[in-house]
């Protein structure tokens, strides 16, 4: 049965939040939202918390309106300050004791009846390193379930898989963000930082900027060259760029010989992607493809950066690989001032994928199927290696699995962020037990059997790892409101009740994380809170306290067994669902400046404007007979959603765009998965548009 969210049921009965206790006058921390982790100072003021921008290499003193208004949620009327438990169709306030008892009893009954793996955990890329680590440990040691994954699967997994495949290591940017500002040419593939992380734009120079995006976005408008491909054809474009780099003599042969393997197979593969073929498939004029290559090849320092536009496809891993191949052929990765990187999305999208909330992973970016990794982590956890469960299902597979009967959700709102969301909503509603820890009643929390009110960023300590792989501190300004607990406290309490006592103290959890990550790919062993405070952050890997950290990776060798980067031949194939007579258009989804992720936070902040819309080209508007602002219905094989039309020449005439923050877009998206990364195909499916 679908239990619809009934606004008011819980809000009316939730006591008004207490004014938080001020524990210090000010705290130097970082923004709660995206992976740029802009530095900010929080100051306790007379009417709440004031946000001040703070200078840091990533934001250079800038903040966007999401950051400026981030404190508005601390004392928001919809803030949850008491646990809620479900009675029939309604959620009612409850004591922590009742809520926790219900959870532990439910877990026990379900695991006894259906096995340990029937209880799942779903995490988030916004959780601190400590929480991500504690969540993975909680699942493997306290629940002893293999069923754990997180929403970063929907975010970073394709770039991570491609980075691991090519370099033997995945760190979003293998160099500090300042290097981007010094580059003469930057190719941004499927990234719109002018909306998603505005202060990042301070590191971009328009004269050397090339943007690949099916929409003429705010970022594309800054660029010297904008390539506007058909959705789902970036891989062909990447192969086409490399084809031209070779035929125009831009191959860095010395680098390819000395630092890579596998070029011959890639050369043979891209030989079949001659410019005219690429143009026909992508719609990008041949001359523009040449111009892009020339700019990259002529630059003394050049960067190739990908983001969700390239990655959120059923061929996302291979698409990223096509651009990694291009960067390798031009000799960029591991050369000071040049390189390949991906722009991480969520606040701790980097650290969140390193410390064990991923289905196939143990802390330190270790593989869960690696016996040595299991033995090491088992020692830290004080368990037998064979007691650590094996790899579990990936996010979407988890969220549609018949074998899972209970789910504990931390820092995620999959009802809005998962593909084919109506199915996910139904699945969540059919669970025997759904537990959601959040600080507002998100769409997912509204379906829960138990909702646990948790602390916000200004109320907790910990570390985040930003898009550069720089480990930074989140610092607490105030205590959480009365009745609210930190995620770590919740996990420690549940773990203890399940017979595995752990600490709720971020510092102690971080020390354990350091030991667990020691010797792993993402080695945090030498990073301490004190060092972060003193040094303004530390880049991993940092194997011991005397180690300076690693701002720039790969300068001498790649993290592969032979030290060389790997070229991997990749072939374009059509999207999992291409337009046809019934659904003749491409639908692509993305983000807007004023909203973050599922919008559970930002949609509640009244100072942040923004409503759902459907962006479409005037030719299409004319064809279906609608004007700007008219409501239109976008339908796919999975569902339909209605929103006002935003008619604009900035989009291709064969494509419509919807921001995904509002719950409509992901009713439509296709859950076809990348075979390697298990990333769903958020960025392209077949759709039709009609006047509503």
């Amino acid at each position: 049965m679908i239990r619809d969210f009934q606004p008011g049921n819980s809000a009316e009965r939730t006591p008004k939040p207490q004014v938080a206790t001020v524990v210090g006058m000010a705290a130097d921390t970082h923004c709660p939202y995206c992976a740029l982790q802009c530095a900010m100072t929080l100051r306790a003021g007379a009417d709440g918390v004031d946000v001040e921008a703070r200078d840091f290499p990533t934001n250079r003193g800038g903040l966007c309106q999401k950051g400026w208004t981030s404190a508005d949620l601390l004392h928001h009327p919809e803030r949850l300050t008491t646990p809620l438990v479900r009675d029939g169709d309604t959620l009612r306030p409850a004591t922590w004791e009742e809520a926790l008892h219900r959870i532990v009893a439910g877990i026990g009954a379900i695991q006894e009846r259906h096995g340990r793996d029937a209880v799942g955990v779903f995490g988030g890329g916004g959780l601190t390193n400590e929480k991500a680590y504690a969540l993975g440990r909680f699942a493997r040691v306290a629940l002893r379930t293999r069923t754990i994954d997180y929403n970063g699967r929907f975010c970073m997994s394709s770039a991570a898989a491609a980075g691991n495949r090519a370099f033997g290591l995945d760190r979003g940017l293998p160099f500090p963000v300042e290097d981007i500002a010094a580059a003469d040419a930057v190719l941004l593939v499927g990234a719109n930082p002018a909306e998603t992380m505005p202060p990042f734009v301070r590191h971009l120079r328009g004269d050397g900027l090339i943007v690949v995006d099916p929409r003429r976005t705010a970022t594309a408008r800054l660029a010297a060259l904008h390539l506007q491909p058909t959705p789902g054809t970036d891989l062909a474009l990447g192969n086409g760029l490399l084809h031209i780099a070779i035929t125009e003599g831009h191959l860095d042969k010395e680098y390819v010989d000395a630092r890579t393997t596998g070029f011959d197979q890639v050369r043979a593969a891209v030989a079949q992607w001659w410019p005219a073929r690429v143009e026909r498939l992508t719609g990008v004029p041949v001359a523009d493809v040449y111009a892009a290559v020339e700019r990259l090849a002529d630059a003394r320092r050049a960067m190739v950066l990908t983001a969700r536009g390239a990655e959120q496809h059923a061929k996302g891993t291979d698409t990223v690989t096509a651009f990694v191949n291009l960067a390798l052929a031009l000799g960029l990765p591991g050369r000071p001032g040049s390189g390949y990187g991906c722009l991480t999305g969520q606040g701790n999208g980097q650290g969140g994928r390193e410390h064990g909330q991923k289905a196939d992973q143990l802390p330190g970016y270790r593989r869960i199927d690696d016996p040595a990794a299991r033995a090491h982590v088992a020692r830290v956890w004080g368990v037998a290696p064979e007691d650590i469960p094996g790899p579990g299902p990936s996010a979407y597979e988890l969220l549609s699995s018949d074998a899972v009967r209970a789910l504990l959700v931390f820092g995620s709102n999959p009802v809005v962020s998962a593909p084919r969301a109506a199915g996910v909503r139904r699945w969540l509603g059919d669970l025997d037990l759904l537990v959601v820890a959040d600080f507002v009643l998100s769409e997912t929390a509204a379906l829960a059997d138990v909702v646990l009110p948790t602390a916000q960023w200004a109320e907790e300590d910990g570390t985040m790892t930003n898009l550069e792989g720089r480990v930074i501190r989140r610092r607490r300004l105030t205590e959480p409101p009365q009745g609210v607990r930190t995620d770590l406290a919740v996990l420690a309490e549940l773990s203890g009740r399940l017979g595995v006592p752990t600490s709720a103290d971020p510092g102690r959890v971080f020390d354990e994380l350091r030991r667990a990550s020691a010797g792993g790919v993402a080695d945090y062993a030498g990073i301490t809170y004190e060092r972060i405070d003193a040094e303004g952050g530390v880049f991993w890997p940092c194997p011991d306290e005397a180690h300076p950290g690693t701002p720039r990776l790969f300068l001498n060798r790649f993290a592969t067994p032979d030290g060389r980067a790997r070229f991997v031949p990749v072939e374009h194939r059509p999207a999992a669902e291409e337009p046809d007579a019934d659904f003749p258009l491409y639908l692509t989804t993305g983000r807007v400046l004023t909203q973050y992720q599922s919008g559970a936070q930002t949609r509640r902040i009244s100072a942040l404007p923004g409503d759902p819309y459907v962006e479409l080209h005037p030719d299409l508007a004319t064809r279906i007979g609608i004007d700007d602002g008219a409501p239109v219905t976008v339908a796919t094989r999975r569902g339909s959603a209605t929103a006002p039309a935003r008619v604009s020449t900035t989009i291709r005439a064969d494509t419509v765009f919807m921001p995904f923050h509002y719950g409509g877009a992901n009713l439509l998206t296709n859950p076809a998965l990348d075979p390697i990364s298990r990333m769903p195909e958020f960025k392209v499916c077949a759709a039709k548009v009609t006047p509503a």
């Binding site: 301070r202 001659w274 410019p275 026909r280 020449t649």
Partner: protein
């Protein structure tokens, strides 16, 4: 199932890969002893832009038995076997991918050592080797291949003459005006075209024309077209027209024998291009694997591979009587565009030079999709679809609702309100509105607004 492919060029290699992708075992027989190469890059090789290594095509997939240097001498459809110079191979399905051969015109003197067709890697090697010591070359034939050869030779520093029988270059693809703009563009690259010119004789140091003109050259390249290699098929008794006649399953007159690529004739058309050959390969692979794929012809987009010349041509240059023709010409800068639109679809187009919408036109043609209402956008591209107004344009003309700072959604009205409230400096405007604190890109616009406000009477003009 025994599948044999005859010919291991672009079409043969592709069908082998497509068959292996469907897990069908296959034996391929290639006549040439050297490894197969990517014909698409021959003109780049001639131009000296790539080396022979760059022409390598992907190694044969696992499970494919590829035999190079084993020419097929006969096909026996009755016994379902092919005979090579070495042995016999039985088949259940046979795919002929025998390609095409250059047309050699019946002219005296073409047996000279400095005369070369332009078709194979060996041709290309010979031309390049001759070009090394040459100053002038003449290319006979002003079609696609001839012009690519001419451009390659010009790129090597040779003066090149193109002798062409037709009244304009590439007349199969271009209209007359387009051909003239192309000739002008090529002239700027050191390539002179002789149109309506008929060759009479090659004397080793010059090509003599029927009109008595004599074009001195150290080297003659023949690019007079190709014809399908139908010899094996004809000898085997298969139906042959211009090419080996096939149906929509790419089947010849013998149901166990298919033909693909340059050697095949489908619905009266012989394509001679790689893209259709690959369409053929996909169809045949599906059929042999038990599928029901049907081939209904390819929409051909021709793109000249010649550095410094951006030419795309598609469909027919002829315009039906009731068709629209949309065109733009700037011959002095080498730009020409002509679109034929019939029943609201692009049926033919010639785009030469700087055409920002070429990618869109190619895709609309390829998909047989409806043309946009505003035809100009097909000629002028995104330059025509203007970006949203930029806030920095002019402070005075900027509407109050214009967003000056996007990162913080600060409108002009908010900044004038700060001014009216007594804020007189950029710093005060920034503190009050947070403009400029995101990406920082609006700093000039905010400074401009503050400057402008200081020069106007805010109580009258700003309020107005």
């Amino acid at each position: 199932m025994r599948v044999v492919v005859v010919g291991y060029g672009m079409a043969g290699a592709r069908v082998v890969a497509d068959l292996r992708a469907r897990d069908v075992k296959v034996t391929a027989l290639g006549a040439e002893p050297h490894r197969p190469y990517n014909r698409i890059l021959l003109s780049s090789l001639l131009a000296g832009k790539v080396g022979e290594d760059d022409l390598a095509i992907a190694a044969a997939p696992a499970g494919a038995d590829v035999r190079l240097g084993e020419p097929v001498v006969a096909v026996d459809p009755g016994r379902r076997l092919v005979r090579t110079t070495q042995e016999e191979h039985e088949y259940d399905a046979l795919v002929l991918a025998t390609g095409s051969m250059p047309v050699i015109p019946p002219l005296p003197g073409l047996d000279a050592a400095n005369v070369h067709a332009f078709r194979t890697l060996d041709d290309c090697r010979r031309i390049a080797s001759h070009a090394a010591g040459a100053r002038r070359a003449v290319v006979l034939g002003g079609g696609l291949l001839g012009l690519e050869a001419a451009r390659g030779l010009a790129g090597r520093g040779l003066a090149v003459d193109v002798v062409h029988l037709g009244t304009h270059l590439m007349e199969r693809q271009l209209d007359g005006d387009g051909g003239r703009v192309l000739a002008r563009t090529l002239a700027g690259l050191g390539i002179r075209a002789h149109l309506g010119a008929s060759a009479r004789e090659w004397t080793g140091d010059a090509l003599h024309l029927a009109d008595g003109n004599r074009i001195p050259a150290d080297l003659l390249v023949l690019a007079c077209g190709v014809r399908p290699d139908t010899r094996l098929a004809a000898a085997a008794g298969l139906t042959v027209g211009r090419g080996i006649v096939v149906d929509d399953a790419l089947r010849t007159s013998d149901p166990h024998v298919y033909a693909i690529g340059d050697c095949a004739e489908h619905r009266g058309t012989v394509y001679g291009l790689v893209a259709p050959a690959w369409d053929h390969a996909a169809t045949v692979a599906d059929r042999i694997a038990g599928g029901r794929a049907a081939y209904r012809g390819s929409r051909v987009v021709t793109r000249l591979k010649a550095s410094g010349v951006d030419l795309a041509a598609m469909g027919s240059p002829e315009a039906p009587a009731d068709a629209e023709v949309v065109s733009f010409a700037d011959p002095a800068r080498g730009t020409y565009a002509r679109l034929v639109i019939h029943e609201n679809r692009i049926t033919g187009a010639v785009l030469l030079g700087d055409n920002p919408a070429v990618g869109t036109v190619v895709q609309l043609f390829d998909r047989d999709a409806e043309a946009p209402v505003d035809r100009r956008s097909l000629l002028l591209g995104r330059a025509h679809g203007a970006d949203p107004p930029v806030a920095a344009d002019s402070p005075a003309l900027m509407p109050d609702a214009a967003v000056v700072c996007r990162c913080n959604t600060v409108r002009k009205a908010a900044i004038t309100a700060v001014w009216r409230g007594g804020g007189r400096t950029v710093a005060e405007v920034v503190a009050a509105t947070r403009a400029t604190t995101g990406c920082g890109g609006c700093r000039d616009a905010v400074c401009g607004l503050v400057d402008w406000l200081s020069t106007v009477d805010p109580d009258t003009e700003v309020a107005a």
